[in-house]
Amino acid sequence: MGWLRRAWITVASEVAWRIPGRPQRLLHAFSLAERGSMVDVLFAAEATPRRDLRRKYFLHALDEGRHARVFADRVRALGRGDRAEAAVEDSGQLVEAGISGGLTLFERLGEDDFLAFVYVAEADAVEQFGVYLDRGLADPDTALELRTILKDEVFHVSYSRAELERMRKDGKPVDRMVRNRRLRRLWERYLRLTRDIGARVSGVWLTLLYFVALGPFRLVARLERGGWHPVPPRAPDALAAARAEG
C-alpha cells in the first residue's frame, strides 16, 4: 500500500504547489498543524509518568513550535491576499490541537498509542516533505526551510520508533498499534470529508429555508433603535426565572 500512498501524495502535492495561491494555503495549514502538535506534545511532556520521555516530548514540542513559526513566516514572505486570515495569522491565534471533550490527545490515547500516533504522523510528514523536495515543488527559500524541518522530523520518527521497538521487546503488539493508528487517521480524514460535505449540503438547505421561510416576515421585522430602552421588570420568583433558558 506504500506505493499507493506515495502516488496519492505526489499527485496531491503537484496540484497543491502549482496552483497560484495554494502554496500559501498549504503552508498556512502546516503552520496550524504544527502549532497544534506543539500543544499536544507539550501536554504529553506534562502528563507522562516516564521521566526519561518527558525531555524528548519537550524538545519535540519546541521543534513543532519553531516549525509553526517558520511556516507562518513563509506564508508572509510569499504574500497573503486575504485580510481576515492575515489578521488571524498576525495574532498567531489559530491552533488545531487534539483536545476533545476536555481530554488531550495524550489522555485519550495513553502513552503507548500516543507514541504510535507520533510515529505515524511524523513518518507521514517525512514522506510528504520528501516528495516536495524530491520533485522540486517548493520555492528555493521554502525548500531550504523544509530541509531543516525534515531533519527535525527524522529525529521525531527516530525517537518514537525506538520507543516502539522497546515496547515490542516488552511483548506489546506494536505492528497492530501502528496499523490501527494509520487506519484511524484514514477514518478521521473520511469523517472530516463527510462533515465538510454535510455542512455544505445543510448550508444549501438552510439557505433555502432562509429565503422561503424568513422572507415574508421581513415586512414586520425592525432593528432596534439606538439610545436607552426600558427593561421589563424581573419575575418575582428568581429561582424559577433562573431555570428558564429564555
Binding site: L42, F58, A86, S91, L214, R218, L223, G226, E245
Partner: protein, 583 residues
C-alpha cells in the same frame, strides 16, 4: 452543609469557571490556561475539573451550576436580526444556524453531560446581569451604579443597573445592534488587527495619533440626548455579514484599511521609513486616536447618565469595554463618581463568577460577602511537582526558596529579563505578578528589547509598570477614583513629569502608563520583589508584562513556563522559588 455553586461562561470566547463555597470564591480560572488555546471558547471542562479537585468535591456535590447567559433569548435575537436584515443576512444565517442547531440550542443537556450535574441543578443568568454581578458583588460598595458595556449579550450591548445591598435592579439598556464594543472592534479590524485580540493594540496605537477624524467618525457613533449612543448601521455590517464588521463607508471616511502586519512607523517613531509610509502610519494612528477618544467620550456620557439615574458616589464597571484602561482613567479623572470599581476579569470570563455570585446573593438571598481584593484565584501546581518537571527537562533548577523575590530583584537590577511564576494564576487577562515577565523599567531600550527579543511583538506596544502601593503616588498621577482599578492594572495614568526619565521602558509615548499598584497584603512575594528592586536602584517599580508569547495564553505550569523560557530571550526563570538560568 456548604452550598457549592459553579459558574460557567463559554461558547463565544474566553470560557471560564468560578467555584463558590457559601458565596466565597474558591477558584476561578479560564479554560485557556488548561487547553493552551488562547481565548478558548469550548465548555471549560478541564477548568471545572481542576476547580472541583482543588475544593475536594465532585460534580455530585454541586448544588447549582449556572451558565452566564440565556441561550434561547440569544437565539431569538439572532433569528429576529436575520429577519430584519433579510436578504442581506443570507450568508450569515446558515452559519449561525449550524452552530445553534448543532450545539448551542441544546445547552442544558450539554452542560449536564459535560459537567455531570442533574438538569434541575442547572440555572441561567442573563449575560449583562452576569457582568453586573461580577462588578457589583466583588466591590466594596453597598450602593452603586453598575454599568456594563460590551459587544453583545442576549439583546443588551450596554446596560445600567442599580446595586443595593445584595440586589441588582435593571435601570435601562442599549440594545443590539447598537454596540460600543462592536464599534471599537470594527475599528480594530479596519486597523488590521484581530477582533477580540487587537483592541489593546489600537489603544496603544492611539497614543501616537491625533483625533483628526473626529468629524468623520462622529457621523458613525453618535451620543444621544437620552444619555446613550447610537451607531450608523448603514456603515457597519456586524449585524448581518458573517465576517466583515464594517462596510465601504468607513473607508470612504477615514481611508483604506490597514493590511495586517504592515509596519507601524508614525511621526513619533518613524524609524527609517519613507515619508509616504510615515504618513500612512500616521493616518492609522489618527484613526485609532479618534476612535479611542470617541469611546472615552461615550463612556463619560454613559457615566453621567448613570449618575443622574442612580446617584451615589460609586460606579462599578464590567463588560469587555471595561478593559479599556485609558477610558477607565478618564472616567476616574473626569467622571461624576468618586469611586470606580472594575472587576479583574471584566470580559466574558468574568461572567462565570458574576453568574455564580448572582445565584448566591440574588436568587438565594444571602447578604454581601468579602470584597474581591486579589486576582490569584486560578491554577497552581504543587511545588514538588514543578521541581520534578524542571529536573526532567534538564533545567537544573536551584532552590532559592523564600529568597526568590530578592534574588529576582537583583537579577532585574543587573539588567536581566526574568520570567516569574509564583502561586496561583491570575483571574482575568492581566498578569499581576504571578505569571509575569519582568524587566528593569528604567531605560527605554529595555522596552525595545522585550518587545523584539522576548515577546516578539510589535515595537509600538507599551509595557506596564508594577509599583508598590506606598510609592505609587510619588511616581504616577493616579486619581483617587482609579485607586481600585489600578490594583488590577485596569487604569492608565500619567507618569509624574520628574519621574519619566527614570521610567523610560514603561512610559508610553504620551507620558502615561498602565499602572499596576501592588499591595503587600494581597501580593506579598511580588511586593517584596519590587520593594527590594527599589532599594537596589531607587526605583520602586518594575516592567511587568504577561508571561506568554504572541498568540499564546499566559503560561500556567512549569512546563509551559519552560517552553516559553526556552523560545524567548528571557535570561532567568523563577518557578515557585526555583531559579533557572538561561544557557
Amino acid at each position: 452543609m456548604a452550598t457549592w455553586i459553579l459558574g460557567v461562561s463559554a461558547l463565544y470566547h474566553d470560557a471560564a469557571v468560578a467555584l463558590l463555597r457559601d458565596g466565597v470564591v474558591v477558584a476561578a480560572v479560564q479554560e485557556e490556561r488548561f487547553s493552551r488555546l488562547k481565548h478558548d471558547a469550548a465548555l471549560p471542562v478541564r477548568a471545572a475539573r481542576w476547580c472541583m479537585a482543588e475544593a475536594g468535591i465532585g460534580p455530585e456535590d454541586l448544588d447549582w451550576l449556572v451558565f452566564y447567559e440565556k441561550p434561547l433569548r440569544k437565539f431569538e435575537r439572532i433569528l429576529s436580526t436575520s429577519v430584519a436584515t433579510f436578504p442581506r443576512s443570507w450568508a450569515s444565517f446558515p452559519r449561525q444556524m449550524h452552530a445553534w442547531l448543532g450545539d448551542k440550542l441544546w445547552l442544558r443537556g450539554n452542560l449536564c453531560s459535560t459537567f455531570g450535574v442533574r438538569p434541575e441543578k442547572v440555572l441561567f443568568c442573563e449575560h449583562h446581569l452576569s457582568h453586573a454581578a461580577s462588578a457589583f458583588y466583588g466591590s466594596p460598595h453597598d450602593n452603586a451604579a453598575v454599568l456594563c458595556v460590551d459587544g453583545v449579550g442576549e439583546w443588551a450591548t450596554t446596560s445600567l443597573w442599580r446595586g443595593r445591598g445584595h440586589t441588582l435592579e435593571p435601570v435601562g439598556e442599549v440594545r443590539w445592534p447598537h454596540s460600543l464594543g462592536l464599534y471599537y472592534s470594527a475599528i480594530t479590524a479596519h486597523l488590521g488587527f484581530m477582533v477580540n485580540e487587537g483592541e489593546f493594540k489600537v489603544m496603544g496605537m492611539a497614543a501616537y495619533g491625533r483625533p483628526r477624524f473626529d468629524p468623520q467618525l462622529a457621523q458613525l457613533l453618535r451620543l444621544e440626548a437620552d444619555g446613550a449612543f447610537s451607531v450608523d448601521l448603514d456603515a457597519f455590517r456586524w449585524h448581518w455579514h458573517p465576517t466583515e464588521a464594517a462596510g465601504p463607508r468607513l473607508a470612504e471616511l477615514v481611508g483604506p484599511a490597514r493590511f495586517p502586519g504592515t509596519p507601524f512607523t508614525p511621526e513619533l517613531a518613524p524609524g527609517d521609513a519613507s515619508p509616504a509610509q510615515v504618513a500612512e502610519s500616521q493616518r492609522h494612528a489618527d484613526i485609532a486616536a479618534t476612535a479611542q477618544r470617541q469611546v472615552e467620550a461615550a463612556m463619560l456620557h454613559l457615566a453621567h447618565h448613570a449618575k443622574a439615574q442612580v446617584g451615589g458616589d460609586a460606579l462599578c464597571l464590567a463588560g469587555g469595554v471595561a478593559l479599556n484602561s485609558v477610558a477607565n482613567h478618564r472616567l476616574a479623572a473626569q467622571g461624576p463618581f468618586a469611586h470606580l470599581w472594575v472587576h479583574p476579569a471584566p470580559g466574558d470570563a468574568g461572567g462565570a463568577l458574576g453568574a455564580a455570585w448572582w445565584v448566591w446573593h440574588q436568587v438565594l438571598g444571602h447578604p454581601r460577602g468579602a470584597v474581591l481584593d486579589r486576582a490569584d484565584l486560578g491554577r497552581s501546581t504543587p511545588r514538588a511537582r514543578s521541581k520534578d518537571w524542571l529536573d526532567d527537562l534538564g533545567a537544573h533548577p536551584v532552590d532559592v526558596g523564600d529568597e526568590a523575590p530578592e534574588r529576582a530583584a537583583a537579577d532585574l537590577a543587573a539588567g536581566r529579563v526574568v520570567g516569574w511564576l509564583e502561586g496561583r494564576c491570575e483571574w482575568g487577562p492581566r498578569a499581576l505578578g504571578h505569571r509575569s515577565i519582568l524587566a528593569d523599567p528604567r531605560e527605554a531600550q529595555m522596552r525595545d528589547r522585550v518587545n523584539a527579543h522576548v515577546k516578539y511583538r510589535e515595537p509600538f506596544r507599551p509595557f506596564a509598570p508594577s509599583v508598590i502601593a506606598a510609592a505609587a503616588g510619588e511616581w504616577f498621577d493616579i486619581p483617587p477614583a482609579a485607586a481600585a482599578p489600578a490594583r488590577f492594572m485596569l487604569s492608565t495614568g500619567p507618569v509624574r513629569g520628574d519621574r519619566r526619565e527614570s521610567l523610560g521602558a514603561v512610559t508610553h509615548v504620551d507620558g502615561t502608563a498602565r499602572v499596576h499598584v501592588v499591595d503587600p497584603e494581597t501580593s506579598p512575594a511580588y511586593h517584596r520583589l519590587i520593594a527590594h528592586f527599589g532599594e537596589l536602584t531607587g526605583v520602586p517599580a518594575v516592567l511587568n508584562t504577561s508571561f506568554n508569547l504572541k498568540g499564546e495564553p499566559v503560561v500556567a505550569t512549569a512546563v509551559d513556563a519552560m517552553a516559553t523560557f526556552v523560545r524567548s530571550g528571557l535570561d532567568v526563570l523563577y518557578v515557585d522559588g526555583y531559579r533557572v538560568e538561561s544557557r
